[in-house]
Symmetry: C2
Subunit: 180 residues, 2 copies
């Protein structure tokens, strides 16, 4: 494993209500120096939930994303609140966004999004043994829940209305896990 | 398909050398109003390249990411420059980061990263029929290139030093494409 660069300086250079940008001055082990920028995350990770209605049926939601200015299919997601662990956060998001609770929840993988530019991590949580249960969320409108088959995952991810890298990675990892 | 919310206002609220944050005021079709923030991207997408040395061997790079402050395995990536299309950008990044050119390049899927918070898109490009060819990049140190087998992809993505959602999604989609 290579020797990590030394962080010479790290300072905030921009901030908004949601985002903080840090400038990081680095010296690599070969003496090269670079000034990079990254998005800082809070201390809490996010979760992305793979809700299995039965052993082949996964529930996706159709939700508006202002980043891409369109409705997209994806897995339910959300922040882990300070008083929660990832499994508790996953179950809460599942109730708020999909209308189910899960009797069985397990962590599959901790994802990063863009290791060069973002500190953020997202825990994939597999949710099984679902039961109807809703919880009040902060969604501006009810989300549309749609069932799909993991046995037809290649066709699902080829759709133009399912593009998010985390959802695609989580669906493939859940399918591999359930098959093994 | 639901009716998209109306964008009432969009303004920049923070900016740094690399990042621009916009505040977007929305009115959903049911009358609910929300104020969201998103990261704006430039007009150009990024590419992530799946370089196949043979029909089962994919080449990954080990690179330092200041976001996570560690070295990680991942696929080569980079920005599409103004004078390039995604295939040209993929071939250039492949030469700069991996030391190969590709005689065969094809787009597999346009990924988003976080539809609610980011405008960014990344094109997955499958690169085949490789030949040794280097090009000068802006990397601060030489990248370490390591071969892995798509036939052992589940074991590969279980590694703690491979976490990026886009790399995992691209590897699974390339494997499915090559199998079909």
């Amino acid at each position: 494993m290579p020797v990590k660069p030394k962080i010479l300086n790290c300072q905030e250079v921009a901030r908004s209500r949601l985002f903080r940008v840090q400038q990081v001055d680095l010296r690599f082990s070969n003496g090269e120096e670079r000034v990079y920028e990254r998005l800082a995350s809070g201390s809490h990770a996010a979760v992305i939930v793979v809700p299995m209605l039965d052993e082949d049926t996964v529930l996706l939601i159709r939700e508006y994303g202002v980043g891409i200015e369109d409705y997209e299919l994806g897995l339910p997601k959300g922040r882990v609140e300070p008083n929660e662990d990832s499994l508790e956060a996953a179950n809460r998001e599942l109730m708020e966004e999909v209308g189910y609770g899960a009797k069985s929840l397990q962590n599959l993988k901790l994802l990063s999004q863009s290791p060069a530019y973002m500190q953020h991590h997202t825990q994939i949580v597999l949710a099984q043994n679902l039961y109807p249960q809703t919880a009040e969320g902060d969604e501006p409108e009810p989300l549309i829940v749609e069932p799909f088959k993991l046995s037809q995952l290649d066709e699902l991810v080829a759709r133009e209305d399912l593009t998010e890298a985390r959802s695609i990675a989580a669906l493939y990892m859940a399918k591999a896990f359930l098959k093994s």
